[in-house]
């Protein structure tokens, strides 16, 4: 094969001073620092919670904390389970509302609604997520619960049901918007393939789009779940402040967040075990959300589908 003389020996791309260069050194460093803030936040949270709860666990053993069935600080009973059950109860109720409704709204918006309708309805639903939670708290107490009590007369004024339902409504847009995003991201050609086989819109949505978007949908579920577990003001206002190991939605309960906010605004002495207990509850809560997220990550990866 032919060989040729080489003409230029000093092309311009030998390293010299180039304008973009300096930014390409500084920028990543700065960006990295910004990213580290999130990591440090976690470190900060864990440190705060651990350090502040150490005195608590000096008084109350971890075993006692995890296994006692009663939460009654004045009596010296610090069993987290009633608070956990309260949290779970409200969360389950909220999910029962938010997941089906959110999911169905997402399917409607992504598969059925005309573009014009989607462009209006989606942000309107998103408003639900932006309404301050104390507003929901009072909505639950003064609107939803009375309504529910007409149907279920022997339900208490404070109950897990009203709080859970309203929390579920608040969370709807988290599910509907994020799932809708995931469904919209399913390429059009997959839908067309199904239509071309004679599928109805429902069959396309349910058997093609939803499975293809499943990992996104599950992520939205978990985000919703985490939000429900961590929600504070709604339960503080509407669910009562009665730590109770119960799974009856008609009763008044207390959640972990509800406990923390009430104690931190209460009158008890900051030196007391009662006060320190909020950090122990905080750690439990943090651990729970962490577990949920790990689970989500795992599930999302299992269901990840490439299209």
């Amino acid at each position: 094969m032919a060989h040729y003389e080489i003409e230029r020996t000093h092309p311009s791309f030998i390293k010299g001073s180039h304008k973009g260069r300096k930014w390409d050194k500084i920028v990543p460093a700065f960006l990295f620092v910004c990213t580290m803030i999130s990591v440090l936040t976690t470190v900060g949270i864990v440190l705060t919670l651990v350090l502040e709860s150490l005195p608590f666990f000096a008084d109350v053993s971890v075993l006692q904390f995890l296994t006692t069935l009663r939460w009654s600080p004045p009596a010296g009973d610090f069993g987290i389970l009633p608070l956990v059950s309260g949290t779970l109860l409200v969360t389950v109720l909220a999910m029962l509302v938010a997941l089906p409704i959110g999911m169905m709204s997402a399917i409607y918006l992504s598969e059925y609604a005309p573009d014009r309708v989607r462009r209006i309805v989606k942000p309107v639903l998103e408003i639900l997520a932006g309404i301050p939670t104390i507003v929901y708290g009072f909505f639950a107490l003064t609107f939803v619960t009375p309504l529910l009590r007409e149907m279920i007369p022997d339900m208490g004024l404070f109950n897990a049901l009203g709080a859970g339902v309203v929390m579920g409504i608040m969370i709807i847009p988290l599910v509907s918007s994020l799932s809708e995003d995931a469904m919209s991201a399913v390429p059009r050609h997959l839908r067309e393939a199904a239509f071309a086989l004679g599928a109805t819109r429902f069959e396309v949505a349910w058997k093609v789009v939803v499975p293809a978007a499943l990992s996104g949908i599950i992520s939205s579920f978990v985000l919703a779940l985490s939000r429900a577990v961590g929600e504070t003001m709604i339960v503080a206002i509407a669910a009562g402040a009665t730590p109770k190991l119960t799974f009856s939605p008609l009763e008044s309960i207390q959640t972990m967040t509800g406990y923390i906010v009430q104690v931190s605004g209460g009158d008890i002495s900051y030196g007391s075990v009662d006060y320190k207990s909020i950090f122990a509850v905080g750690i439990t809560l943090f651990g729970m959300t962490l577990l949920l997220n790990l689970l989500a990550q795992f599930i999302a990866r299992r269901f990840k589908e490439d299209y």
């Binding site: 973009g20 930014w23 920028v27 990543p28 700065f30 960006l31 990295f32 910004c34 990213t35 803030i37 999130s38 990591v39 936040t41 976690t42 949270i45 705060t48 919670l49 502040e52 409704i101 169905m104 709204s105 409607y108 918006l109 059925y112 309805v121 639903l125 408003i127 639900l128 997520a129 932006g130 309404i131 301050p132 104390i134 507003v135 909505f139 609107f143 409504i169 509907s176 995003d181 109805t200 819109r201 429902f202 069959e203 349910w206 779940l225 985490s226 577990v229 961590g230 504070t232 003001m233 503080a236 967040t257 906010v261 931190s264 905080g282 809560l285 959300t289 962490l290 989500a296 990550q297």
Partner: protein, 291 residues
Amino acid sequence: MVNQDPVLVKRAKTRRMKNRFYQSLFFAATCVGVVVLVVLIVDILRKGIGVLNWDFLTSFNSYRPENAGLRGAIVGSIWIIAMTAPLTFVIGVCSAIYLEEYAKKNRWTRLIQLNISNLAGVPSIVYGLLGLALFARGFGLGRSILAAALTLTLLVLPIIIVASREALASVPDSLRHASYALGATRWQTIYRVVLPRAFPGIMTGTILALSRAIGETAPLLVVGAMAYVAFSPRDVFDIFTTIPIQIYNWTSLPQEEFKQLASAGIIVLLVLLLTLNAFAILMRNKYQKRS
């Protein structure tokens, strides 16, 4: 049609009905959210609109309900948002850029991602505890606007990071390649090609984050928001109150009149929220048109 198999035709009819049934069901589900929103807003308007007037917006809080207004809280909320917005935006977008454009896709990056999505689920009150320990006490910022704004920044940061990452990831690689192929550096590519294109999505994330920040109550209670502040804060080290805090406080007083004020406060908060959302949607539409 060619093969009018009667069994199939009958089945087709059921399938069509099934489709129609589900369409109605899904539509109804969508309406639930919208209807609740309307009910919520009507309920609040009914309770609060009567006391909502100019005086309410321009007077400070008072023990006399007829004199009480929201001024200190409005100014406080604006201060907090004015601090939180740029901080979250810069830190959040920068983190997203780092994770999406610079970080190697290795175990550490995945760990950071997991950490961020985990932070998104950490209860806001826990951020309050952190803010108190770290900013108010640790950094000696006291119970100030700055301490509160920093707390809220950490609180809403995951929201904006996640949204911005999505936006950045949705920018097609072909655009990046085009830019690199012209000899652009990584930063030039990001700054001039990727970011403009991702901007609408980033805006959405920002607004969602700020909406959350505006309405937060629990962490600010812990960080030290005041219930009665009868002056407008002058700098970020000042004591503060915010609209949701004021609402919360009014609802806990015995007098019925304060509850009306609380409803009026909620209206103001919602108006602020909707303005912010509208702004976001406008920005989003403006930039979406171009690309």
